[in-house]
Symmetry: C2
Subunit: 202 residues, 2 copies
Amino acid sequence: MARRTGRRPGNPDTREAILDAARAAFAERGFDAASIRAIAAAAQVDPALVHHYFGSKDQLFLAAMRAPVDPGELLPRVLAGDRDGVGERLVRTFLGVWDSPAGAAGVALLRSAVSNEWTARLLREFLVSQVLRTVLNRLDVDPAELPLRGSLVASQMIGLAMMRHVIRLEPVASAAPETLVAAVGPTVQRYLTGDLAEVLAG
Amino acid sequence: MARRTGRRPGNPDTREAILDAARAAFAERGFDAASIRAIAAAAQVDPALVHHYFGSKDQLFLAAMRAPVDPGELLPRVLAGDRDGVGERLVRTFLGVWDSPAGAAGVALLRSAVSNEWTARLLREFLVSQVLRTVLNRLDVDPAELPLRGSLVASQMIGLAMMRHVIRLEPVASAAPETLVAAVGPTVQRYLTGDLAEVLAG
């Protein structure tokens, strides 16, 4: 009459074991070096089960991060259209997410990243592997400049989220999104595609 | 033989009582509306004692925030020199503080502000009353634009500190300060003195 206690498909414990193993692997090794095979081994399940539950490595990562949105769905909108407008479109999309109900999860993630080195690592991997690389790879800039451009964009975007949703400094805290798109869009555009020769020579 | 237990000059309890009352007043009422008189009353001491211990209201505020540096001492360096270089000088000075031993206190303050609404309010008051207002008042910009300019500057600076010292995203995390001055200085300069007519009309 005893029920099986082992892990099997559909068992929430199995899901959680995979997510725990994924968080550890992504934080320790980074997104690129972490493998589904190693995560499955750590969770004591078959790799096929990881794929069955979560699909791709990207999807597993988003689930492990408890990411409230999938950048893979949002970024095509940012990338469609002229190259000179990508800064404004990135800020507009970013504000749209943070001003939506998903924003609360964003604030929670930011809070956790600030107090917990592990979450900070996951957030770093998220920014690079799910957002910045995707955007920058489409913009035809010197590959050697990608990391600096990406981290500069992240500095302005995270700072904007901090001021609007955490520190709540006015008027940024309650400004109309389009005001911030007009104010911050050119900054992000310069970091993405502007001439940083002087910066990189320095 | 019993020692007096009442508060008196030099008593660390008195100092702490004043600082507690100051934190509450600055967070609740804001820097401008909080008065030394009300803080003294809340701490059950004479206002003269507050002045004796802490000097000015600015100094009391910095002590209450446990601010690792006094912007009043650093900002003259930022403000000396040409108007077109103030963005770079502000970033250079900011990085100098965060890269120094004082940076650890800055990270602690940021951590606390992210998890604690009270510290967030104090940080907000600090940014506005001790840094942004001082800088912007010297730059001859339309007073109506000061709050937006100030909060945009704060968004980029706090984001830079987050990426360099908390999230630690490379290469911003370990870039030479002058690389970041060249990259971020123009952003801050535009927020401080650039034409935001289009932004403000939006």
